[in-house]
Structures are given as structure tokens and as C-alpha cells.
Symmetry: C2
Subunit: 385 residues, 2 copies
């Protein structure tokens, strides 16, 4: 692989090119793109975002760094470089998406991305004390494994990410398991990349704030139906939760308990998820109260019409006299600006109606990874105690 | 995370949105982008590549699927969708890069990318018998671990990918180790993603063609120098190979041998690399002939001025009377159209001069992942026998 860079820069590519080949390559005119540095954190934690797009008429940027505000317009200089500077940002990991004349454009100068099931976002970082909990620090690190398996439920290969804690390799001990579920649009890499889960766990464990544990991050995104004819929302959600529950219970969990040294009982099993993953968590918690003693629901609830059916669907769990006894933790957290607040409130009302006990926390902010990383950091120390 | 899709499609996003929120969202006009399917494999293994860019004047696509031919122009239809159809492609995994009015643009409808250290490329697949060796098949799978460590050599956190074979978790056996190095511009994820290394190993092992082994894929890209003042090419390469060798020998190898159940001797150690990784392989092989009995050099040689210094730099290795005896395999493979052929030929001449024995294979094609996956598939069965 080679890339031609202007002379005077470290010729990374030079080591992959014979000098003869180098002499043969046509001399390209340098452009502002060659030396463009973006995103660039400025004093005061503003971030300059730039893109060289000399022929474009309009460039916008959206992302969670905007805190819910509308997308920003970039302005072009005479060299064809578009730029905008953000407001001062609280130190954190942020995602952003550029749009150039209506075309979603991954920042050509920033290869750090968040992988989604149908699109990418770029990632930028402002570091500070506030990011200590999620930074890559010189503490013992666990390992995050990519694990492929043939799903009997779905009849296809599927992947999950599995975090094993520092010391796992050389130990003979067994560990509790935390099933951590992502949201709609993401895949099994989400929690460990934009969610910083591996680093958050490493830091908590190093500080003695969390027990060493295995964290299983399955793929919660289900393949679309093979039959034509669009299901309605209710059918879609029902299909999704049923497939997910089947895959988790029949494929993922048995594989995890067979492959790793786990303590395979309810006292040593936790489940939490964000958004769609929170919905899946509620589904598994109320559908299978005997499986998990520790439950976390982030930015979620029974969405849409599922709340109307929930009382019937989960009658057994809701009426289970031992439900509360069997839960060391049932934690429900959401941001006050979250657009799923309505579903969340209705879900709490349903739980209250059936005297299901839970801890509720309401934070600032909304439906963002900014909140979900914080929630993971707060929730995890409570597990397996 | 939510995405608004046209009614009648599976509302993946619906599960993350309360119906109230859904009702509140502004109705966006559907665009051709919503239903665009790309890349699309057509009968006869042509691939249609499309992008919705209604305001653009010029859209090009480059990539290894072109087999060295120049980039293709896409043409626009009245709806603003640009498209081009490739020649019939041999089944394989290919990379491509779109450029819209001079702006490198990751395909907004294809989230499958190859991660580089400074840029991304898109990946498209044409499957067939020819891809069986690298496909994700229903055979036992190993695990690919992302491992972070604090590098004493570089004074910073570094990451590597480590493949452990099927059965590793539940075994108590020790395994041989294959150090597999990527090229310039890539990182430690390269071999396992675009290089399909995990699947290639899974398939070889399942077929009994390769011994179960651990494959360590370190990050061969070194950070740029912290001092200003650009080094010349010779200094840059010398710095790079020295840093890499130090990090491999002082950080990576001891960590691997401490963390995993390895057979830690020369008979059970292999090293191979492509391009810059091949250069690093040559450097370590001639610099440390006592470490590896199995060596592979893909599409590489002593680049640029390093060939002139090699006789001195590697005097000890080149003159080692036991060098050949200590090598079960010294395999050098390159495509006949490879632009590093000149460096390769000079390297072979140097080895010949010192009666260093090696197996040389020349294939079709050039400096591409297309070749490197094939080379890995051919090379690996020879290891540890």
C-alpha cells in the first residue's frame, strides 16, 4: 500500500516503494488536503473541523457534540477548505458526520470511525479529567475477542465481542458474566469502540471499583425478514425481540458458558442495554426473571405499541411474587431530554402497577453515547456484589 | 440511535422511537439514496457501484479490482445517481475508493471498510469457489483478540491482534506462534479484516492443512518522529525498522510468551510480512537468525537505499554458516507486476551472493491484498512441520 506525500514529510510510504518506482510516479500537485489537520482541538476545548472540498456549495456537520442543536454549516476559504469551530466541548469522545452537497462524507482526513450496520460516523476526542474513566490508561488491560459462531436461530454466521478481564488468560478461576447490549443501527463492535467498554472495565477493575468479569457484547441487530411485505411496527418489534431472545438464550449463552470459565447461575449473570438493547433487556428480564439478578435499562422502555401488549406478553414476570427478591439490581437510567422518555414513563408505570422494584436515575442530556458511557461507568461497580 | 426510513420498509429504527417521537419528526422527502443498493453483484460477476450525488460534476472510483488499470469515471442519471459497472471480476474481496469532485468519499451506502492509519477504503465481495479459502464458513472458528499493551519501546499504548485457534480456550496444550506483519498504511487490524487471516486460518485448520497455531498481528506502523526536521528516506527506514524490531523483541514477543500458552523456541516460531512488513521480516530474519525457523517475505525487499547498506547492516546474518540449517522455510513471493520488483531482485541477489537459500515464487498480479491473501493461504500450511 502506498500513498504519495509531499517531500519533507516522513515518507511512511517510502519504505514500501523502491526508488525506481518512486521516480516513475507522476508528480501530483500538492493540495491543501495534504497538510490539513482535522479534527483539531483548540485551546479552550473548541474543535476545528475541516474538509477540503473546493467544488462544493454546501457543507454541514452534525453529531452528538452539538448536544441536540441543529447541524452546523461550514464556511469555505479561498483555498477550498471548509471549516467550522465548535463551541467549547466538555472533554469526551464525540461522533460527527459531514455532508458535502447532500452526500454523507466520512472525513477523508480522519480514519477513526464508529461502525454501524448501515453507515459510519467519525469520532473525535477532547481529553481531560472527565475522560479519565474511559481513556486508554496504563493499567492492566483485558482482551476483547471477536468471536464468530454459526447461529442455529438465524441459520447464518454471527459475531459477538467478548471482553475477558486482565488476568483471565493465566487464571483458572471462573468469572461472572455481564451481557451488554447495543442499540438500533449499531453492531456488536459498538459498545467496545464508541462505548469504550473495554477501557471503562479496565479502569474500574484497576481501581478496585468493579469485580473482574466477562462482558459479552452480542449483535442485537437482526437480519431483515426474508419474506416480502413490510411488517407493521408491532410485528417488527415482536419479531426482533423474539429472534434476539432466542439467539441469546439458545446460541450465545450456551456458547459463552461452554467456551469460557464462567459462573453460570443467576447470581453471576447481569444484563444491560441501551435503547433497542434496553428494550431487549426488558424483554429478557420480564420474560425470564429466573436468569439475571442484575439488570440495567439505559435510555429505553417498551417502544411504540409494545407497551400496550406488554402486560399480556410479560404477565408471568410481572406477576411473579419472587421477582423483586430475585433482583439484586434493577436499574433504569435515562436523560431528561431523551426522545424515548414517553415510552420510559409508560414502562415505569407498568412496573409500578405490578410492584416491580427498580432504581430510577434521570440525568442531563439525551439519547447519546455520551450518556451511555457514563451509565456503564456508574452501573458496573454494582454488579456481582 | 435512529434513522428515519420511508414507510413500507422495515422500521428498524421504530424500535428505538416512541410513537410520540415518531409523530413529531419532520417528514423528509424520500430520495433515491434511500433505496440505493450498492455495491451490487450482477450476473457474470460484474459489480455495479453507485452513489447519489446530485450536485457533483465528477465521480471516480479506484481500487484493486481494476487490476492496475486507471480509475473509472461514473456517469450520472437524471435522478442524480452516479454509477459504473465493472468488468467481470474473479470472485474475491476487493477494495474501492470513490472520489466525488475531488473529495475522497467513503461509500455512504456501504459501511464495510478497510481501516488504515490515515484513511479508509470500502470493501466489496464477489463470492464463488475461488473465495472458499477465505470465506466465513461453518467450520470451527478461532478467536481474534484485540490486545492493548503499554509499549516500553515507544512509551505509549499500542495494540495488536492475536488469533488463537479453535479449541485454544479449553485446551491446556501449547501452540506455535506465527508473527504476521502488515504493510505501510495499514494497522494491526489489516491482516484480519481485508487480509481475512482469521478465516483463512480457520479453513486451513479445519481441512487439516495447517497446524493449529497462534497468529500474532502487531502494529507495524511506527509513530512519526517527535523532533522536527524531516529525516531522509534512509534515516526514516532505519528508524522504522529499528523501532519495530525493538518493539517486537522487547514488548510484543515477551508479552505473547507470557500471556499465551506458546512453544517459545525457534522451531515453533514463524514470521512473515507484506511490503513494509516484508522489509521488517527481512530485517528481523537477517538481524536475528536464531529466532525464527520459518520465514515468509511477501511483495518486498530492501527498499530504496536500504539495499546499499544491507550487506553491512546484516553482515552477521549473511555470513552465518548455520543460517540455512536453521531455516526450515525461507519463502519469498511476489507478483510479476509488482512495483517493488526491483528491490526484490536486488535483495535476492544479495542473498544469492551469500549463499542464503530460499524458495522463490512469482505470481501474476502486483502489490495487492488479492495476492497477499493467496500468499498467506499457500505459505501457512508449511509452518511447523
Amino acid at each position: 500500500m502506498f500513498r504519495f506525500r509531499t517531500a519533507g514529510r516522513l515518507l511512511v510510504a517510502a519504505v514500501a516503494i523502491s526508488s525506481q518506482a518512486l521516480a516513475q510516479m507522476p508528480q501530483r500537485q500538492p493540495t491543501p488536503n495534504d497538510t490539513l489537520k482535522t479534527p483539531q482541538v483548540l485551546p479552550g476545548n473548541r474543535v476545528a473541523i475541516k474538509i477540503f472540498a473546493p467544488k462544493a456549495s454546501e457543507v454541514m456537520v452534525s453529531g452528538d457534540f452539538l448536544g441536540g442543536a441543529k447541524p452546523l454549516s461550514l464556511t469555505k476559504n479561498e483555498q477550498g477548505v471548509w471549516s467550522v469551530t465548535t463551541e467549547p466541548l466538555k472533554p469526551d469522545y464525540y461522533t460527527y458526520t459531514l455532508t458535502v452537497d447532500g452526500v454523507r462524507t466520512a472525513d477523508p482526513k480522519n480514519p477513526t470511525i464508529k461502525q454501524g450496520i448501515s453507515s459510519l460516523e467519525n469520532v473525535m476526542v477532547v481529553t481531560g479529567n472527565e475522560t479519565a474513566f474511559e481513556d486508554n490508561r496504563p493499567v492492566p488491560h483485558g482482551e476483547v475477542r471477536q468471536v464468530w459462531y454459526q447461529s442455529g436461530t438465524l441459520g447464518m454466521p454471527r459475531r459477538m465481542h467478548v471482553y475477558t478481564p486482565p488476568g483471565y488468560e493465566k487464571s483458572s478461576a471462573k468469572y461472572p458474566v455481564f451481557y451488554l447490549l447495543h442499540g438500533g443501527g449499531d453492531d456488536d463492535s459498538g459498545w467496545n469502540t464508541i462505548g469504550r467498554a473495554g477501557f471503562i472495565l479496565d479502569n474500574l477493575i484497576a481501581a478496585g471499583k468493579a469485580k473482574p468479569m466477562i462482558v459479552v457484547m452480542p449483535n442485537g441487530s437482526m437480519p431483515p425478514p426474508s419474506t416480502t411485505g413490510a411488517p407493521n411496527q408491532s410485528q417488527a418489534m415482536s419479531r426482533m425481540r423474539t429472534l434476539f431472545a432466542d439467539e441469546l438464550l439458545k446460541d450465545v449463552m450456551p456458547l459463552v458458558e461452554k467456551s469460557y470459565r464462567t459462573l453460570a447461575n443467576r447470581e453471576n449473570r447481569a444484563i444491560a442495554g441501551l435503547s433497542m438493547g434496553g428494550f431487549q433487556t426488558l424483554d429478557l428480564t420480564l420474560g425470564h426473571p429466573e436468569l439475571f439478578n442484575y439488570v440495567g435499562v439505559f435510555s429505553s422502555g417498551f417502544f411504540g405499541s409494545s407497551i400496550d401488549e406488554a402486560e399480556t406478553t410479560y404477565a408471568r414476570g410481572l406477576q411473579d411474587a419472587n421477582f423483586n427478591k430475585g433482583k439484586k439490581l434493577f436499574w433504569i437510567e435515562i436523560g431528561k431530554d431523551d426522545f424515548v422518555m414517553d415510552a420510559n414513563k409508560k414502562t415505569l408505570a407498568l412496573l409500578d402497577k405490578h410492584q416491580i422494584k427498580y432504581q430510577y436515575r434521570e440525568t442531563d442530556g439525551g439519547h447519546t453515547w455520551i450518556n451511555w458511557r457514563q451509565y456503564l461507568n456508574e452501573f458496573t461497580p454494582n454488579l456481582f456484589r
